[in-house]
Symmetry: D2
Subunit: 212 residues, 4 copies
């Protein structure tokens, strides 16, 4: 049995024009694994900000993770994006799965402008590049559900003692999603994305465990 | 033993800034396979136009293929590109592997402006998309060695009776090539590229055999 | 009065999603000018291949130009594109203005695979870059009306003695077209495009006059 | 004489591979103008974070502006970018003009993760689009001098009573910069950029004057 604590990995349901969501598939693929003594809990959350936040809150309560890795889809990006910052704004270019289209509302009224990810981004990046996986550190997670979730979880745990490490990883489209569209968007194989997450989990699991 | 004739697949050596070339790896991966009764001969040709042409001529003489599928690398493209046309011009943005940098010379002095690929591009495209592999029909193979080879082989077999079908397929960068560079270029897994070639070979092998 | 002969410049009507077409505006802007002794005739042709070809035929008959510069819009391109080749295929991603959507038909049944532009592309490019105007030599004019017109005019004059020089120049979107869309497409000011055409006309007008 | 207060506009010197900087040219172009009663002070600041911050501090002291509009160059962007957020990190992909290459240092040690721009971005965007100028609201100003300056000025005025409005506008490359490079980058005419700033100044000058 593992005693290194738990790592929560979340993916999103499909949304907008997309019939699939690689973040959902990757989260399911790693669910139940044990990495360097840490148990991985993979879960799928809805593409609607109130319910997404509630789902994450319930998972934090249940899993009590030492780290949270949110995953999401970033159509049009060619590489895995390690997000450095979540900002306190929701501005949607398309409605969420409940039909809501935010137009500048804050993620958390009265909250700070932004939070930085607390995952070890540089070490994660080095691990991915060393294995030949295209990746970079991004400074915008957009203003849709992905950014909202990164911001909201960091806001939710801000007073925890100790807080779990929290971050967000954006994934490219799957090849079949590009083939099904008429676009010239870049894509990445699911196998490579799952391997990327394995590397990220290994780096995150190796971080010193916060005192309890 | 197969009696459906041979299909020649060529890839290129690495060139310019690239330490690898997926076209070489794919050509080697399918070498020796039998597809719908056709024997596949995979070969690697040099990135230098005189020697590339000579290498292809020797392979045509030796293999006497019913079809020729040239493969090459197109850094920056996100999808597998089925090339429709080879044009009679060489204009290199970087030198070839012999240090030669063409500046508008024809591939074949006195030759026609262009040849169309004689592979069944529409059927190849349909087969790729049906399997979820990003692909499209391209109308420019550039003006480097790839275009030269497409044009030159079509020019070489123009009077054969019957000529083999001839075409060119451009491949994206491999993920590790993007990871090793500082670029935001799209990439594609080698596994997916090899699968794409398997599908293409199946379509090409199903074409009626030219009478001899 | 000018005695250096005439240069025909054509632009296209708006088409598809576009409410304007810079090629129309540039053709009108240079209509009637005299450049190095050459009279410029600017005309607008329809976005429908049969009528476009007929309109060009009538203009060739009437103007008897020493050179023809077709202009068209290439949404998504960032620079002025001097097209080197027109290919004998029509494959439309959107219908033309008559509702026709070609699917691989030749521009001229039985015609050669392609014609090269007979304009002095290298000199035109040098003139544009020297004035700080982004430009390049392109090897695909697409497979829509633009390519059709380049191919068809070169095909139409192939037996003329002497034939006029013929070529095609693709223009980026106008800034207002990008502002009106939700896209991130590049654009170019009309003033800069008109200046580009002035430079091109000067280069073309300086070419030796074919004997009559 | 104008009595509506002053608006400070800053541009940057050329840097890295660039022989020019449109932000410098636009800042100089609007220097001394009076817009809706506001006097515009255009100034050029160095591409080095300590000196840039000092230069801005001196200008704030001298000009005592009601609003600050920092301008900078974003090579590769096609539209004018109204930046919404400055983040507390410096991570340079190329050295600054003093040879310093930041690797994750904060702009202000101990400062918050980010500040939001306090300019009226939505109204600025609407004014630009209504005049046919490609523009958008951006959520990353990068992590080079541009972001540093946006963050640092917002940090510097955080306790002012009242603070001036502060924001950052990224400009595309000039056409001549693209022509001089071998890239396919988008560009925008200086005339259009200056007009964009005129529109932005008009919107900013119309904002209620903070009480003093």
């Amino acid at each position: 049995m593992s005693d290194g604590g738990a790592i929560l990995v979340t993916g999103f349901e499909p949304f907008g024009p997309h019939a699939a969501n690689p973040s959902e598939q990757v989260a399911k693929a790693v669910d139940g694994r044990v990495v360097t003594g840490c148990t991985v809990r993979g879960a799928v959350i809805p593409v609607e900000h109130v319910n997404a936040r509630a789902a994450v809150a319930a998972l934090l309560e249940e899993v009590r993770p030492r780290a949270v890795i949110h995953l999401g889809l970033a159509g049009g990006r060619a590489r895995i994006a390690l997000e450095r910052v979540g900002v306190n704004v929701m501005e949607y270019s398309i409605p969420d799965n409940a039909g809501f289209k935010a137009a500048g509302e804050p993620c958390a009224p009265g909250g700070p402008a932004a939070y930085f990810s607390t995952l070890p981004l540089e070490a994660m990046l080095a691990a991915l590049l060393a294995e030949g996986i295209p990746a970079y550190i991004s400074h915008t997670a957009g203003t849709y559900l992905c950014n909202h979730t990164l911001y909201s979880t960091l806001h939710a745990v801000r007073n925890a003692a100790p807080p779990p490490r929290v971050g967000f990883v954006h994934l490219p489209l799957l090849p079949a999603m590009v083939a099904a569209s008429a676009t010239d968007d870049p894509s990445m194989d699911l196998t490579l994305m799952v391997h990327a997450l394995e590397l990220i989990l290994t780096v995150v699991a190796a971080e010193p465990h916060p005192a309890r």
